[in-house]
């Protein structure tokens, strides 16, 4: 049998891998049957109603301080530690209110917190299952006891939400979990939605929120853009936004309607379906290795006979 050259081996392996990859990708692209569960819990943030009082930020920290390992965040201009003045989501903040101001007429507040995606990339990327999505409520939550600190979730998140506590000896990932262990348990509502004085944050089931958002848009078409941010982005998210200024200006990026997690998971799950791909790969490698070993033995046999003390 003709010996397998390195070139030929690589060619065969490459085409095998290509086949294995392309097939699921086409499957993934073809399978556009995105299932959105509108019964999951979510929040609707209406930027046109928000008055920037930051009651949500205070309440979030008040409720989740101990449970979420949060601390006040000093500002650079504040050596005395008078305020909790975070400039962004961080290892101490699950939510933050920011201001977009173009001029005196075009401005808006915006609240950032976890979007609780229908198909969360962080959950998909987490190698140890520290991030999970609750099947019933749709809450994406974090379990510090499982986390290994790899921060893949940070890289995977299309909204740049999970934050790592870089300054702590025992760091955790910090992100909103809809007050799952605190206010939601106690009052059945998230702390931020509970305290919002102008109902800019509404908590409820996704379908109710969508209906509410549409009603608001219908009642005041001049006030809102004609889209609900989060309805379709990355396969739909449970934290929805209404605004009067373009979402991109509020730092809410224009994202495709396909969930990256679905795409990568389809590839991954197809390759590993029934553990066939690894078995096939290792069988092939095993076969090649065995064959080479036999050939080597045949090739070397005469020499071994001729020099018994060669190794001594």
């Amino acid at each position: 049998m003709k010996p397998l050259s390195r070139r030929n081996f690589l060619k065969t392996a490459g085409s095998c891998a290509g086949l294995l990859t392309v097939a699921p990708v086409t499957c993934a692209l073809a399978g556009t049957s995105r299932t959105v569960n509108d019964d999951e819990l979510g929040m609707l943030y209406d930027a046109t109603r928000c008055v920037g009082c930051k009651a949500c930020m205070s309440a979030c920290k008040r409720y989740n301080n101990d449970n979420g390992n949060l601390e006040p965040e000093k500002a650079k201009f504040d050596p005395d530690g008078l305020w909790d003045a975070p400039s962004d989501l961080s290892g101490n903040n699950r939510t933050v209110i920011k201001l977009f101001k173009e001029n005196s007429t075009s401005w808006s507040y915006v609240k950032y917190s976890c979007m609780h995606c229908q198909k969360p990339s962080c959950v998909s990327a987490c190698p140890v299952g520290a991030l999970t999505k609750d099947r019933q409520t749709g809450i994406v939550s974090y379990d510090k006891t499982l986390c290994i600190g790899c921060r893949y979730c940070q890289i995977a998140c299309p909204f740049n939400i999970p934050k790592f506590q870089w300054d702590r000896a025992m760091p955790q990932i910090v992100k909103c979990n809809f007050c799952k262990e605190t206010c939601l348990k106690e009052k059945g509502i998230t702390a931020c939605a509970d305290v919002c004085p102008v109902k800019a944050i509404v908590f409820g089931k996704r379908k109710e929120l969508l209906a509410d958002a549409r009603r608001r848009m219908k009642d005041h078409p001049d006030r809102y853009l004609d889209t609900i941010y989060g309805e379709h982005e990355v396969g739909g998210v449970n934290h929805l936004y209404l605004s009067g200024v373009p979402f991109a200006k509020l730092g809410l990026r224009d994202l495709p309607a396909d969930a990256p997690a679905v795409f990568s998971e389809t590839i991954h799950h197809t390759i590993y379906k029934g553990f066939i791909a690894p078995i096939a790969l290792y069988s092939a490698l095993c076969f090649v290795a065995l064959r080479n070993a036999r050939k080597q033995k045949d090739h070397q046999a005469p020499h071994d006979d001729g020099s018994p003390g060669g190794k001594a």
Partner: protein
């Protein structure tokens, strides 16, 4: 005792009376529906016998109660209690006064309320404060024995006050340190708001029990929140606008007094809500920082100008701008150079090492074909 000498009763109109009762109801944190009950109590003839003892103090607590510009409060109090012994107010003196106290204690055994004003000296057998030939500790023990409850009015009676500040030559202590077997309500303050006292009395008369107390023995309805939470200067704090010196521009503008040492953020009291003298004034409103007079660990223990630590910081009144896809600074040229150099060295070293490695096939062949 003739109430006209205090000059209050004749001036109290029905309207003022109702207003006072309504204020007290709201003040105790009771729902509006209980107003009628409180009113009923206030109107009833039931009067609470009170023995009022003075020890090491300035009588400021009594004075603030009596010298309010409007009559409502003092007359309400004096109508609701039967003040059987009060050294400042009683007409009698000497043996007559002592007898009045003794009679009241005997007659109202277990039914009277003992109000204590001032700290009690304990050093050298308490000889630093003696009334009627008895030391303060003896008077207190005698009066407390048959009391229904004790109300410590003012910071001195509650926690020792200025007398108890180091070096505390008289060994002054509050009532709570000496009397252990009676319910004690502390109404600290220097002076405390008279409404806090009145509400406590009316609460007892209405519900026949003492109001809920915090861990320092203060009624929660009056001492449940920090000064800072209801301060009218709070927006200036949130926005970072401070008075930095007495009489400076910020002080004139009514800015926050935190930098002048205001103890509002650590002091639990109702001053910003139920103000003083019935004219809506309180220290912070006239430009002086809170000195924390209701807090045993703050008053006279920290300097007036000393800034306090904020334990539960709240957001600053300002907003970070929305970050619309801007990227970070990136690596500096120096970092790039250093990293590049290191990478180059590593590559070169690796290449040299690879070169020096013995050729495995040739060496094995050498061995096999010597």
């Amino acid at each position: 005792m003739d109430t006209t000498t205090i000059g209050v009763r004749s001036e109290l109109s029905r309207r003022d009376f109702m207003k006072g009762c309504l204020a007290v109801t709201a003040f105790m944190g009771l729902p509006h529906t209980l107003f009628s009950k409180v009113l009923e109590t206030a109107e009833s003839d039931r009067r609470l016998p009170v023995i009022w003892l003075h020890f090491q103090e300035c009588t400021g607590c009594s004075e603030s109660l009596l010298r309010s510009s409007h009559p409502t409060i003092a007359s309400l109090i004096l109508d609701k209690i039967s003040l059987d012994y009060h050294e400042t107010l009683m007409a009698g003196s000497g043996f007559q006064a002592e007898k009045s106290m003794h009679d009241s204690i005997t007659a109202n055994k277990g039914k009277y309320v003992l109000v204590v004003e001032g700290a009690i000296p304990t050093a050298e057998n308490g000889i630093f404060c003696m009334v009627g030939g008895r030391t303060a500790t003896e008077s207190l023990a005698a009066a407390a024995k048959d009391a229904l409850a004790i109300i410590s009015i003012g910071t001195c009676a509650s926690y020792g006050g200025i007398q108890a500040v180091s070096p505390n030559p008289t060994g002054a202590v509050g009532v709570g340190a000496l009397v252990k077997d009676k319910p004690i309500v502390n109404i600290p303050g220097c002076p405390p708001n008279p409404y806090s006292f009145l509400s406590t009395v009316l609460y007892y008369l209405t519900f026949n029990k003492l109001p809920e107390l915090d861990n320092l023995g203060r009624p929660k309805f009056a001492y449940g929140r920090r000064i800072h939470e209801h301060c009218e200067r709070r927006p200036h704090f949130d926005a970072g606008r401070f008075a930095r010196a007495y009489g400076d521009e910020g002080h004139a503008q009514g800015y926050c007094l935190y930098q002048l040492g205001c103890k509002g953020p650590v002091t639990f009291a109702n001053c910003p809500v139920q103000r003083f003298n019935d004219v809506g004034a309180w220290p912070v409103s006239i430009g002086h920082p809170c000195i924390g007079c209701t807090e045993p660990d703050v008053l006279f223990k920290t300097a007036i100008a000393e800034k306090v630590q904020i334990h539960e910081p709240t957001p600053f009144d300002g907003y970070p701008p929305v970050d619309t896809g801007k990227k970070g600074k990136g690596a500096s040229p120096l970092t790039t150079a250093v990293v590049g150099l290191a990478a180059g060295v590593a590559l070169g070293a690796g290449a040299m090492l690879a070169k020096k490695l013995p050729d495995s096939t040739s060496s094995s062949q050498d061995k096999k074909n010597p």
